[in-house]
Amino acid sequence: MSTPLESMPSKGIPAFRIARSAPMHRYVLIVFLAVVAVLASVPFWAQTGTIRTLVTFFTLLALAQMWNLLGGYAGLISVGQQAYVGLGAYGVWLIADILGLHPFIAVPLAGVLAAVVALPVGPLLFRLKGGYFAIGTWVVAEVVRLIVANIQATGGGSGKTILSAARLPIDTRIQGTYFLGLGVAVGSILLVYFLLRSRVGLALTAIRDNDLAAQSSGVNVFRSKLLVYVIAAFGCGAMGAVVALNLLRIQPTAAFSINWTAYALFIVVIGGFGTIEGPIIGSVIYFALLQNLSQYGTSYLLLLGVIAVIMAAKAPRGIWGFVAKRWNIHLFPVRRRLVLEAPPPGDDGGPADASDPPLAEPA
């Protein structure tokens, strides 16, 4: 799978192409499809408790992917994505209970609602950089929370129940929520994957490395950042909507809690910053820890905080970053590699192919 970018061998310039995939990736795809198929079968044989737990896992995975898209790829560390998680949750209530649409349809629409809010917010926040941008995102989350928590129409501090979902037959609700959760998780992975393979993805890696240099190379930094910010809002909104369906109750303190950022941060820092594989691994690890340690209450959050701080300080690329670097494995073919088609004149080696170690690593 190579792009049409090729060169004719001319004076001393070897023929090349830009390759993204290696033969290994075919196997990765098969494994991925198999896993998704297995997960899709779950509602037909597993217990309700397990199903609902998996939905929680899916939402955390989606959240981590979106947070990583912003932070690891666009260099925008946000500690305010809970604004969009909460908007997604309240969006379901608004669209399903108030506007009367089917609660399942409300999930993607809630994502759109969050994205629409993100559109004017992004440019405002982009006036801030780095750590101040981060706190700015928090302010926005606070503003949204205060509005929702203080007006009677949205239930104020005590929140709302998603009545239209509660009224669905229980099996339909459980299974439907599950598939929406699976959809949001797989969708978030695919969304990030295809985004990174596109021109925007190339722009993002340039921006992440050097904002100013990217701009002088013609990259529209502002538009790329805004696109990513809006997409991340959509993803967080959709995931928040699924959470709302899973819990049936929404309430401002929980919906807009900073803990959403904390979870995403833990997952991404531990699993791997700036890769697609990282948040997947991080989610699995975090979730496993959650199941085993939540009985200890506050001290488990403390432990996670300590782990996150140590890893962020010492191993910022996370577990996957270590694995990827050590064994040069990249499961998702998003990186672009320069591959020589024919030996440069004067060389007597054979033609290089996609499975050889890459000659140049622009990604």
């Binding site: 260099g75 302010v139 203080n150 996150a308 910022p316």
Partner: protein, 290 residues
Amino acid sequence: MDWVNVAVQGVLLGGLFALFATGLALVFGVMRLVNLAHGDLGILAAFVALFLLDSFSLGVFWASLASIAIMFCVGYVLQRGLLNYTIGTDDTRPILVTFGLSIIIQNALIMQFSADSQGLDAGAIENASVRITDQLAVGWYPLIVFGVAVAVIAALQLFLNRTTLGRAFRATSDDQEAAELMGINNRHIYSLAMAIALAIVALAGILLAVRTTFDPSQGPFRLIFAFEAVIMGGMGSIWGTLIGGIILGVSQTLGAQAFGAGWGIFVGHVVFLAVLAFKPSGFFAKTVTA
């Protein structure tokens, strides 16, 4: 008449915000670090004072002084031992690490002290007021806090402008590599800056704790208000944080008066966002880029 009273209260409240903001601005100015645990460290100082008060039967004054001294040392060690390793060309690491720190501090405080609200009792001074005009009465305590804020900011500015060490701070802030060539040890300067910043935020946290109740979850709010004061006042200006604090304070009190108690903070946020939209470099910016 009521409005004037409220506005004056807002101005005085701004003093407290400015005190929280000063440390944040100092650290950012010297080493471009935004400490997301800044508010939590101020609250931590209040708990330390509380602990000293309860465990050693120290008066509020001595417990507070001890807490400030402790936080000064904590700041030095924190910077030298951890945060110095996160500073570099990568913006993201300090944010991740200080956010993690924020979570650690909050949860450690909950484990040690529970999530309940606490207070630091300073006696009669808290409620006494002074009458300025027929219509205007001002609490002694808010007046004192405002005075302290102005004094601290003035002292800091004097330190930066008139002392050799202060000059070293400014040089490091301008160009840290060139500063090394002057014989300035960056790691030490950064640690001193953080130590001073935490001593100031400790003072702020304690003054807050005397004025109102506090609990482990208050840190992030203090951070947000400090941040809003810094941005509105303008980057690079210590006195600017006082102006920013005053704008925020007045917005909050007038907002609460106009729309009800629950909306005061909201109005403050809205004013901040408006300033960000229309005057993003703040009112007194010395540096144009963050």
